[in-house]
Each structure stands twice: as structure tokens, then as C-alpha cells.
Amino acid sequence: MKKNSKYLIIIIALLFLAVFASGCWDSLDINEKLIATTIAFDVKNDEIYYYMEYPCIEVGDEGDNISGSDGGKYMTIKGIGENIPDSRESLNKQLHKEPYFSGISSLILTENFAEEYLLEYLYRFRADEHYRKKTLIVTTKEDLDELFELINEKNDSVGFAIDEISDTLDDTGKSFSRTISRLIENLSSEYTGILISCIGIQDEEIALVGYSVVSGTKVIGFIPVAGSNGLVFLKAVEPKFSYIVPYKDINYTFGVSLTRKTTKTYYEDEEIRFDVKCEFKAGLKYGDKKVPYNFDDAAEAAVAKILTRTIKKELLDTINQAQKEFKCDYLQLDDEFRINFPVEFEEIDWQKEFPKADINIDVTFEVSTEWMMDYSYFETK
């Protein structure tokens, strides 16, 4: 009898646990939620446009303000309001299911929106526990209706496309992306200077077109992706680019990568100085003439000199642009100074000090032929 009652208790406990373990009151079929993949914002005629892209899991996922092809994989819906909460309310009124925001892959802000509402929206984002803080943030100059329509018609998600492009560029050392978490941290600090990737449409595809400069709480400028190698060398993890170096009638193509970057910070007589040392590696990939190239030590030294000059100029131009054009430290030298002089950093106004700081660049190159290719001396048969 005692044994039986023990089993009964175990069975009741298991049944009880089964009810709770199934998610209690939160148990919900995935089809009953509208899973947002992208959210985007724009401002037009003093009205805020709140876009939400979601995958069409079921037949009949449609609303009034929808872009995307009939029966397409992704749909976009938009709400319009005088402020952010109003636009969200407007969006909610069109939703036929409860939205789920924990799965969004990208947040897109038009430059117009970011200029005015960047801080407000990001604080709203931070306050909502449902959003993933590692969501990617990008800006755009494109019209969002056109952007969503173009990509959704191809049965693609704008958010996923941006996420994948950013991952690829980050992994190959061609760019650097920023998550919302990092942006909010920067916005919450005493000094704010940061870059956000800006996407656009190129040949009917999404592409990185540049970087939006955020200073204080607003977007203040734009750096086009063309000619931004210096910026990527200073910001990205393991940056890599190809450079063509003309030497003795041959155009050599080199793979150039930054191997080490060290920054020394000095603060003497209220003068701030940074000595940035960049060590590069350049590997000869190929030339535009028939081998042999006779690429000897002298050639290596000459090419190293050309590359040093070229890249040093790119880096100095990047620093000048930050100090003179934008007067914004998106190069994160504020962190370098804060780490080395924490007490002094609290006492100075970095916004005023950064443009005056003396920043020296030292570039060194190690040139070699890449992999097993030997372009030095050998006899052709």
C-alpha cells in the first residue's frame, strides 16, 4: 500500500511537471505569432514610419499596408504616426497576430530618422526586454518602401540580407559592423562618437555604401565606402585589401593586411599625443605581365616604400577627416586616452580636445610573395 501511494505521488508530480514544463501559460504555437525579421524607421513630412518585415509562414498572412509579392516568402507592413509610440500603435492595429520581436536580425534607420530620433529609439529598444541586444544596426539613404519592395519581391528578407552581407564583410576584413548593444553603450558614455554601416541599393541588390557618423546623439555626416580603406584599417578586426603597385612596367597586385596595431598615448602640459604604429604584411599575388618578374629584395624594398607611402596617406586622411571635417572621434581614441589617463579623462571635454590632439602614424611593411608562388628567379621552359 505504501509502495503504491509512493508511485501515485510520483505520477501526480510528473503530470504536474508536464503541465508546467510545457511552458505554462506561455505555451504558444509558433504559427500563432508574427515573427519579425527586420524593423525599420523613416521620417517623412514630420510623420514616423514604422516598418516590420516578417516571413509568411501561413497562407493568408496579409495586411493593408503591405509590400512584397503575392505568396512571397516575406512581407512588410508599416505603421504611421506622429511619434514612435503612435507609429507602433498604428502598426499594431494592422497585425492579425501577436508580433514576436526577439528574432529580428537587423534594425534599419533612415538617415533622416537617425538625425532626429536615434537616441530616443535606442533607449526605447534598451527598455524592451524582448529585443535581442545583439541585433545589427544600419542606416540607409534609400526609400524604405522601395527597399523592402525590391528585396521582398525576390522572396528575400532585407534583414537577413543585411546581416549576411555584414557578416561576410566583417569576416573577410573588408568592413566593420556595429550591434545595438555596442551603440547603446557608446551613447550612454560621457563621450559619443561612433560609425554605423550605411546600406543602399546597387544594381538592385543591397550593398554597403558607406558609414554614418554619429556624434553626441545624432547622425552628423556620411563617409562613402569608396576610399574608406584607411578607416577600415583603423577600425576592423584583421582588415585586408588588395592594392595594385606599378613597379618597373609591371602592375603588381598585393594582398595587404594589418598584422598589428599599437597605440601609445601621451599627456604632457595639457597636450594630447597619440603615436599609432601599424605593421602591415603585403603578399604579392600576381602581376599583369608574363613571368619571370625577377622580384628580388630590391623590388621588395621599393614596393614596401610605395605601399608605406600610399597607406600612410590613407590613414592620415582618415584621421584628418575625423579631426577636421567631422570633429568626431569615431576612431575610439577616447578609449585609449581614458585607459591611460582615467582621472584626466574625467576632467577634460573630449569633444573639444580630440580635434586638437596630435596623432602620429608610423607604418611598416613586410613584403613577400604569397603562398608557394615564387616570382623571383627561375628559368622558363
Binding site: 504536474f16 511537471l17 508546467f20 511552458g23 505554462c24 501559460w25 506561455d26 534598451r126 526586454e129 535581442r132 541586444k133 545583439k134 550591434t179 548593444s181 555596442r182 547603446i184 553603450e185 557608446n186 550612454s188 558614455s189 575610439q332 578609449d335 585609449e336 581614458r338 585607459i339 591611460n340 582615467p342 582621472v343 574625467e346
Partner: protein, 363 residues
């Protein structure tokens, strides 16, 4: 069956009792008080409580096979012992309510937003009650497994955080201007160290000779464990985000990428919640142990049911109080000072004096 636990079990009991909820809360406390230099106050408080735990263990070791209720009567008499035990019952019930609130809060905020609080609480209290009924020795065995898994997973995730985070978020590791906030940080850090008084219900035997050293080392280890959690969270989120986000440690885990596992937060909380449940179980068992000593004629399962009902009602009431956290924080520090510092030191001093007097009388 003789009630005794090994030194390893002591390590896991203290570790789980202390780190149960506060491992989630610790980065916020440090970010809001001492910032990047927060590791220093953590070490200072660990050393303070390391000394305190050594005192409690020494006291227990002076009276082998006895617990506070038994040896207290020999040291300060029956009346004062009853007052001390009643005080500890109230103290641990308050800790229990605090941990219950935190458990419900973590679950509803991060995982079960639509589930009513009373449902989560019902399940929790039933589980804690069952564990309390089984007693401290059975629990100690279970905690060896839970504690080892929790430790392994948390340290593993923190190491991933350190490798994936930004080092400038934790640098400089010492800032002179942060020292102004050290006193506030130390005061705030007293609360995460509540719970070492659980040792008052554990009878020590001859196998616990090295327990004082184990206890001190455990507290130092907990200090380093907290530092690892704080620095990992700072590296991923930054100090400002850590200070401003709720459950920032879990937010940092969500951002951390793990091979194969997509939802790192769910993976962590499988083990993290087991630690929170373990912390609650310890508190529950301590209340039951004290109550059983106080009401010897009442059967253990009756005591368990009564304690469960009291905890359940009080927690439900506390859940409806606004800013309950602030209320707890405002008086907990005083209770901790009384429980962890004043009572053990007084008992040890009186016991030592009595022992010397008795030795002199014998001579």
C-alpha cells in the same frame, strides 16, 4: 543515520547558497558602485566573509556533532539560544522571500512573461519543500552534482565572454577616482554574501578538521567567481549597459556566441536556474531544521508544510509591494551584520572564555 557532510559538500553548499541569485545581480551592483575597479571591493568583502566563515566553522568544530541550537544552550543558555534561533528563522524566511521574488522575476521577465506569478511560485515552493523534507545531508549530496555543473557552465560561458568581449570595456582595471565609491560598493556587496549562516544547522564531525581552511578558500573562490562574472559581463556589454539593463548578466550571455548552441541564455539558465533553485532549497531546509529543533514534538513533514504555506503567502504579499528590492536592501545589511558577524563572534568569544574558566576551575 548520522548527520554529517564532507568538506567538499561544505564547499558546494556555501557556493550555491551564496551565488544562487547574486551571480545574476552582481554585475549590476558593481557597475553602479565601483565600476571598472569593482574587483577590489569584491576581494575585500570576500576576505571579510572568509574570516567570518572561519569563525563559524571554528565554533562548530568546538562542539562536534552539535548544531547552533544544541551548543548555543551550553554557551549562552536556553533562553538566549531560543531567541537566536527564532531570529535565524525570521532571517532565513526573509532571505527565502527575497530569493522567491527573484526567481519569479527572472522567470517571468526572461522566459514566461504570460505565466502568473503564483503558478511559478507554487511549483517552486513544492520543490523546495520536498528537498527540505529530505534533510541537509541528502541535499548536500545532490548539490555536489548541481554545483559542479553550475560551476563548469558558468565559468565556461564567462571564459567565452572574455574571449569575445572588448578589453577596453574593462580597462583601466584600477582608477583612483573609483576608490571614492569603494565604501558604497562594500556596503552593497554585503548582501550578495548572505547565507553563510547555513553552517549553523550543519553538525561538524572529525572529518571536518580542515573545514576552516576550506571555508576560507571557498569564500575567496566565490570572490574570484564573482569577478569573472562581472568582468565577462563588462567586456560584452560595457559598464553603462551593465548598469542600466535588467539582468545584465543574462543579456550578456544572450550576446555571447557558443559553438552549436544558438540560445546561450536558455543553455545557461538550465544550469543557472538549478543554482537558484538550489539556493532556495538550502534556505528552506535551514528554516525547517531550525523549526524542527524549536518544535521537537511536531513531525518534520508538518513543519515543512507550515513553512511552505508561510513562505508562499508572504512571497505573494511581497510580490505586490512596490520597490520591494529597495525595501529589502535597506535593512538586509543590518541583519547580515547581526547574523554573520555579531552572533558568531559573540558566541565564539563567550565559548572561549567559558572554556578557559572551566579549565581554570579544573586546575
Amino acid at each position: 543515520m548520522k548527520k554529517s557532510i564532507t568538506n567538499r559538500q561544505i564547499f558546494f553548499l556555501i557556493f550555491l547558497a551564496l551565488t544562487s541569485y547574486r551571480s545574476i545581480d552582481m554585475p549590476i551592483i558593481i557597475a553602479r558602485s565601483a565600476g571598472r575597479s569593482g574587483w577590489i571591493p569584491i576581494i575585500i568583502v570576500s576576505l571579510i566573509f572568509g574570516v567570518v566563515i572561519t569563525i563559524i566553522i571554528k565554533l562548530n568544530n568546538m562542539f562536534k556533532d552539535k548544531v547552533l541550537f544544541d551548543y548555543g544552550q551550553e554557551i549562552v543558555g536556553k533562553f538566549i539560544t531560543y531567541i537566536i534561533v527564532c531570529y535565524f528563522i525570521v532571517y532565513f524566511i526573509l532571505i527565502g522571500i527575497f530569493l522567491d521574488i527573484k526567481l519569479v522575476d527572472v522567470l517571468t521577465t526572461n522566459f514566461l512573461p504570460s505565466s502568473p506569478q503564483y503558478a511559478i511560485l507554487t511549483l517552486g515552493i513544492m520543490l523546495f519543500g520536498f528537498a527540505a523534507y529530505k534533510g541537509i545531508t541528502n541535499m548536500a549530496r545532490l548539490f555536489e552534482i548541481i554545483g559542479a555543473l553550475f560551476l563548469l557552465v558558468t565559468v565556461g560561458i564567462c571564459i567565452l565572454m572574455l574571449t569575445q568581449g572588448m578589453d577596453y570595456n574593462i580597462l583601466p582595471i584600477f582608477n583612483v577616482s573609483d576608490t571614492n565609491h569603494f565604501l558604497t560598493a562594500i556596503k552593497e556587496l554585503f548582501i550578495p554574501y548572505f547565507g553563510i549562516e547555513i553552517l549553523f544547522v550543519i553538525p561538524f564531525t572529525t572529518i571536518n578538521k580542515k573545514a576552516p581552511r576550506v571555508g576560507f578558500a571557498t569564500l575567496l573562490f566565490i570572490g574570484f567567481f564573482y569577478i569573472l562574472i562581472v568582468e565577462g559581463t563588462f567586456m560584452i556589454l560595457g559598464v553603462n549597459n551593465t548598469a542600466l539593463l535588467n539582468d545584465s548578466f543574462i543579456e550578456a550571455i544572450k550576446i555571447t556566441e557558443m559553438p552549436v548552441i544558438e540560445r546561450t541564455d536558455i543553455f545557461y539558465l538550465t544550469f543557472g536556474l538549478s543554482s537558484l533553485f538550489a539556493g532556495m532549497m538550502i534556505v528552506f531546509v535551514v528554516v525547517v531544521e531550525f523549526a524542527c529543533k524549536l518544535f521537537k514534538k511536531v513531525k518534520r513533514h508538518v513543519v515543512v508544510i507550515v513553512v511552505a504555506i508561510i513562505m508562499y503567502i508572504l512571497t505573494l504579499l511581497a510580490l505586490n509591494i512596490k520597490k520591494v528590492d529597495e525595501i529589502f536592501d535597506s535593512f538586509f545589511i543590518y541583519l547580515i551584520i547581526i547574523s554573520s558577524i555579531i552572533i558568531p563572534i559573540t558566541l565564539l568569544v563567550v565559548a572561549k572564555i567559558k572554556k578557559r574558566v572551566l579549565e581554570k576551575v579544573k586546575k
